[in-house]
Subunit: 143 residues, 2 copies
């Protein structure tokens, strides 16, 4: 079986494909929120990945964290693989601010929600794509 996005993930816009993960922009303007989906079929938990893919995933989490940090200057990063509602393995990387609606609680069960406008989403996708392209090149140079 080939890799296919779960319907709840397929609704999100694709930012870029990294070596392992498809990187999605979660449609929630209250937080800078990116989702990494390893492009492997039938994965539900981090430990379902091979050791090599686990290492690649960690590098892509690190890359994504740096990008969110540099672009949005959050107070903290929340990184999580949950999968209770969407069983396909996906990793949330979320920048948190002390004045965001859910702080200091987690974002997943928070009632407030505000999708991006089309213009906001286009702007953000552009910004993130540029950052991923730039940072991926830097990472290649430094390793």
């Amino acid at each position: 079986m080939n890799f296919e996005l779960h319907p709840s993930l397929a609704k999100q816009a694709i930012i870029i494909n990294l070596p392992l993960c498809q990187v999605l922009l979660h449609d929630e303007s209250l937080y800078p929120w990116v989702i990494l989906v390893p492009r492997k079929a039938n994965m539900s938990k981090i430990m379902d990945l091979s050791k090599q893919d686990q290492w690649q995933l960690m590098q892509e989490i690190d890359l994504t964290g740096h990008i969110i940090w540099d672009l949005f200057h959050p107070k903290q990063l929340n990184v999580a693989a949950l999968g209770n509602k969407t069983p396909q393995l996906h990793i949330h990387v979320i920048g948190r601010q002390e004045n965001d609606p859910a702080w200091p609680n987690t974002v997943w069960d928070h009632p407030n929600t505000l999708p991006y406008t089309i213009a906001q989403k286009e702007h953000l996708l552009n910004l993130l794509q540029t950052a991923f392209n730039q940072k991926s090149i830097e990472q290649d140079i430094n390793t």
Copy 2:
């Protein structure tokens, strides 16, 4: 500055020291819930760790996931580095069941809570220590 546990983490019982992390049993009997704390000073986010420590952390997340999976047969694993309330880097590894109080939501902001009895905690610490010692040996043999 040397590694020291944040007061909210220091309240939890120590299961074992792995090469990178101190492994804690979170005192919440509603879920099998283990916390990995990298034994490095001044760490708040995964990306604060060196690449080598990130790789070690991933191996210890994988090891912990397998132990929870084998001992408690959960439906899903939740793995998360949050740090909104406790800024010291720590990673939650939680076994989730379809009949646990918070399912399918996350556990962090759920109102139900039930600490272990002393006897339960002692039993569980014993079980987990034996499993970590056994699995660590297996992992060494297989790498």
